[in-house]
Amino acid sequence: MPAIIEVRDLETRFGQQVIHRGLDLAVERGEILAIVGGSGSGKTTLLRQILMLERPSGGEVQLLGHSTQALSAQEARSLWTRMGVMFQQGALFTSLTVLENVCLPIHEHARLSPDLIRALGLLKIQLVGLPAEAADRYPNALSGGMVKRAAVARALALDPELLFLDEPTSGLDPVGAAAFDELIVRLKRLLDLTVVMITHDPDSIWGTADRIAFLGEGRVLALGPADEVARNPHPEVQRYFGGPRMRRARERTWKAE
């Protein structure tokens, strides 16, 4: 099966500063891919380029079988309806309740009865593990973990094939982060999702992701399952995976198995 996302020879320059230099990455259908790397390695920029929010300086991004270079506004819109994004801070609309946030894209793109739209919104809210009474609350009345869940519910509103998560577990307590990791795996299985996430969380890297793409020096330095990447001899990879927090998380996954 062809890759769901294919990035070829990507180049990004901001003035003199080179972010990506010949970056290649292929995301397979049905996997959870974690993009990791030190700060400033261009993870968020890469994500934004895949999402067609920024244009790369060179190279090509193939998204769901379409090249993103020469898309009309209409085609881009229809591609966007096939993917869901959870932004780092949630980016929930503060003037809308959680339910209204989730129903907004449905209202926009599907002509269904209000009753069914509402039911669908409530379903997505329950699916991400939020209590029903959270549906009528405004985002500022939610805890950090609930905001993240609500953001995922909104990202899932249109049943996307692709789900992007920007640091899904950052700012969550360890219990909440573990529950969130479980949620992602569960949703992926239930809804046949392909998940691409940026993360720093050692537990997500070792526990949740099927494959890791390690970004450094402007390209993907290592790509594969976590233990394979961790064995990569490149010094930057070693420095990242050699840290004490990373080692402890790895030992935890051994014990779990």
Partner: protein
């Protein structure tokens, strides 16, 4: 009883469902045993599954027996997934007109009390500071003075100049009919000095300075900067409000004097060019016909307006809770409320001056 067949086919995905939904609502719900077949469904997502699930539930509620045994495994899994959904959440019923009126009234009253409490609290914190003036942040006062005063000069000057022209122009025409065009001097001077200069200045300051106070403090409230100040043992009032208040108490009277000059200038230009009242005549007649109090009556209002604008702007800023949207609302509310209170205060001044024969 005959066996009924519910045969689903095609795309049951969120973008394609509108026809299916319409046709399913028209479905005759007879009680005979139903068999559900979805083999011909090319794509099913949660929206499609939800619609299917609700149809099954509707049939069952009408006493029908529905067989879902022979569905593809993936479809069955999706149906199970959506089956947990409860029909509707607990939405609070909409309020009727009387309840809404009551709610709005109570909110307005509560806000009035809060504003009074804020002013009282501010006074309690500010008065001891006045005894120790070295504790006041004079640098901050100077910065605010520049932002609220000096930077407002062009817009205040331009607007009041235009107002002066308009008053002379509108008032001069009827005076001319009675051959009393010379009274244009009193008309322009009285209106500008007593009413227009302080009022126009206050309205502009409320719009550009009061709103920025609300936005500034409101944003700090959201980013928890106000709380950070508190935990450092710095009263937010002392740091954020007092310098603004002091600066505006100085800036507003000065701006009003400037507005007096520019407004009279506008009136003089119109009087000279439209009605032939020359500058020397105007300047000669004005002090002879008007008591000095005309000037002071206008200036006295300025510090009061300044206090109102600062209090309302900062009060609305501190009231901000939660989100960026609240900052926008606080900014709007600060402008509306401070202009309202300024005009009310102006009316009160008129009554008092009338009683004092000024």
């Amino acid at each position: 009883m005959s066996r009924q067949l519910l045969l689903c086919s095609g795309d049951w995905t969120i973008g394609q469902l509108q026809d299916v939904e319409r046709r399913l609502t028209r479905l005759t719900l007879d009680a005979g045993p139903w068999t559900l077949r979805t083999d011909a469904v090319r794509a099913l997502d949660t929206a499609g599954a939800l619609l299917l699930e609700r149809t099954i539930r509707r049939l069952r509620q009408h006493g029908a027996e529905v067989l879902v045994g022979q569905l593809p495994a993936r479809h069955r899994a999706l149906l199970e997934l959506v089956a947990g959904e409860q029909a509707s959440g607990a939405a609070s019923p909409p309020l009727n007109a009387v309840e809404r009126l009551g709610k709005v009234t109570m909110a307005a009253l509560a806000q009035a009390f809060e504003l009074l409490a804020f002013i009282g609290q501010g006074a309690l914190q500010a008065l001891p500071l006045l005894a120790r003036p070295h504790r006041i942040r004079w640098r901050q006062v100077a910065i605010e003075l520049r932002r609220a005063g000096v930077a407002a000069l062009p817009i205040v000057g331009l607007l009041i100049f235009l107002v002066g022209i308009v008053i002379a122009y509108q008032g001069g025409a009827p005076l001319q009919q009675y051959g009393a065009v010379i009274f244009i001097v009193e008309l322009v001077s009285m209106t500008i000095l007593r009413e227009m200069a302080p009022l126009i200045t206050a309205i502009i300051v409320a719009g550009r300075t009061g709103s920025s106070y609300a936005a500034e403090i409101g944003t700090m409230q959201i980013t928890e900067e106000v709380d950070a100040l508190r935990t450092m043992g710095i009263t937010p009032f002392e740091m954020l409000v007092l310098p603004k208040l002091l600066a505006l108490l100085v800036a507003m009277p000065l701006l009003t004097v400037f507005a007096d000059i520019m407004g009279l200038l506008g009136g003089m230009v119109a009087a000279e060019s439209l009605f032939g009242i020359g500058l020397p005549t105007f300047l000669d007649r004005m002090p002879r016909q008007l008591p000095h109090s005309t000037f002071w009556v206008g200036i006295v209002k300025a510090p009061v307006f300044a206090a109102i604008i600062t209090a309302v702007g900062c009060f609305q800023g501190f009231r901000v809770r939660g989100s960026a949207e609240a900052v926008g609302r606080a900014t709007t509310a600060s402008v509306v409320l401070s202009i309202f209170l300024v005009i009310v205060a102006d009316a009160a001044f008129s009554i008092v001056f009338n009683l004092l024969d000024l």
